[in-house]
């Protein structure tokens, strides 16, 4: 592949995680660390998608219930569960996932947009899908994972 082709079709790394039967990918550049489940302190009056807050080396980080966010049924956390600390445009949040799988490399040309048949807001954080190992990987745009209003609300915790 020529230099020009590489520029036009950059390779990105994605951290993949599992939720239910599906596998999702998030941009590795936005992943700060992956934690085992520790004590998550509930926040009174928080929206349903907020599990609570954790103390990460002196910083308070809000943990999002990703299953709730994606409309999946609740599930008790277990040994495989992880909190992925991610950095969005201006916030650091944690997302609880069933398990973290691997880091994969994908070419931009491998990513296809997912059909959007619902309203624009409900799935705007789905960046696209790609086939990998005979299954579909759903790529999540973390910058759109929370709306501006939701981010502002998180600042209140």
């Amino acid at each position: 592949m020529s230099e020009e082709d590489k520029q036009n079709d950059p390779v990105m790394q994605w951290v993949t995680f599992c939720l239910g039967d599906e596998k999702y990918g998030i941009n590795v550049m936005q992943v700060q660390e992956v934690l085992r489940i520790s004590e998550i302190a509930p926040v009174p009056g928080a929206p349903s998608y907020v599990l609570g807050i954790i103390n990460l080396r002196g910083n308070v980080v809000t943990v999002i219930d990703t299953r709730n966010r994606f409309g999946l049924p609740c599930q008790e956390a277990d040994d495989a569960s992880r909190v992925v600390i991610i950095e969005t445009e201006d916030h650091i949040i944690g997302i609880l996932v069933d398990s973290v799988a691997e880091v994969v490399e994908l070419r931009a040309s491998d990513i296809e947009t997912a059909p959007n048949v619902g309203n624009e807001e409900s799935s705007k954080y789905i960046q696209g899908v790609t086939s990998r190992d005979d299954e579909l990987l759903i790529l999540v745009d973390l910058n759109k994972f929370l709306s501006d209003d939701e981010k502002a609300e998180l600042d209140m915790f």
Binding site: D21, T113, A114, N116, S123
Partner: protein
């Protein structure tokens, strides 16, 4: 089964069936017909059983090509009542002459779709990948022969969310998918039944389709709903 039920139940069922049949054979101007359909749905199993019998069951792959038929000779084209109600151009091309229809089953309901609107049928061996944030009738994505197919819950599209949405797809998954002609959408169903030729005059066409535009007609003899696939699938383009 009917013979297990009391005379009172039988009378109730017959009334419901009569109401449903009348609804199908009339124009359907409002939601009343939809509710009649819903109310009578549970009573219809005997009629459905009958409806499947006359259908020739050639496999889809061996279905003969649709014959070339002179459009001018088609009865539906010449029917003045139809022309008066709606310009013919608004009816799909396939409805103007004899067409082959694929009969399939969703829950207990038998539906028919024109073969020309379909590419193929596939058996579901792996559940579609669910995409977060999509409506409940969008089951998910499935890769099929280099195409990414959006799989739709036909039951929910046809029955509506209140009834069709009650199905637990984990416990009771659909078995087959009808792939639309453009390869973009898949109509999930429980069983692919048969293929049969239908003549336009044997179908009661719904020429006014303000409500439920996907229901384009009813096979008069078998009382099977004919689906306009183009109207059933979403029209939103991918982002």
């Amino acid at each position: 089964m009917a013979h297990d039920k009391s005379p009172h139940q039988l009378v109730h069922q017959e009334l419901a069936l009569d109401s449903y049949l009348k609804t199908l054979l009339d124009e359907i101007p409002s939601d009343d017909a939809a509710s009649a359909l819903d109310n009578a749905e549970a009573q219809l199993e005997p009629a459905r059983q009958q409806a499947t019998e006359p259908l020739a069951p050639p496999p889809l792959e061996q279905a003969p090509k649709m014959p070339d038929i002179d459009v001018e000779s088609s009865a539906i084209v010449n029917a003045p009542a139809v022309i008066k109600r709606q310009p013919l151009s608004l009816m799909p091309e396939w409805s103007r002459h004899e067409f082959q229809a694929l009969f399939f089953k969703v829950d207990q309901l038998i539906l028919a779709a024109p073969l020309t609107e379909l590419l193929r049928t596939i058996t579901i061996t792996r559940q579609p990948t669910k995409i977060p944030g999509q409506p409940s009738w969008f089951i998910g994505l499935l890769d099929d022969q280099d195409k990414r197919v959006g799989v739709l819950d036909t039951g929910q599209l046809v029955y509506g969310k209140s009834r069709g949405g009650q199905r637990d797809l984990k416990q009771d998954p659909f078995k087959s998918i009808l792939i639309t002609q453009d390869g973009r959408w898949g109509l999930a169903c429980d069983e692919v039944l048969s293929i049969s030729k239908l003549e336009p005059e044997k179908v009661r066409w719904r020429t006014l389709r303000k409500k439920r535009p996907w229901l384009i007609g009813t096979v008069i003899e078998e009382l099977t709903a004919v689906i306009d696939v183009q109207q059933l699938v979403p029209h939103r383009k991918p982002r």
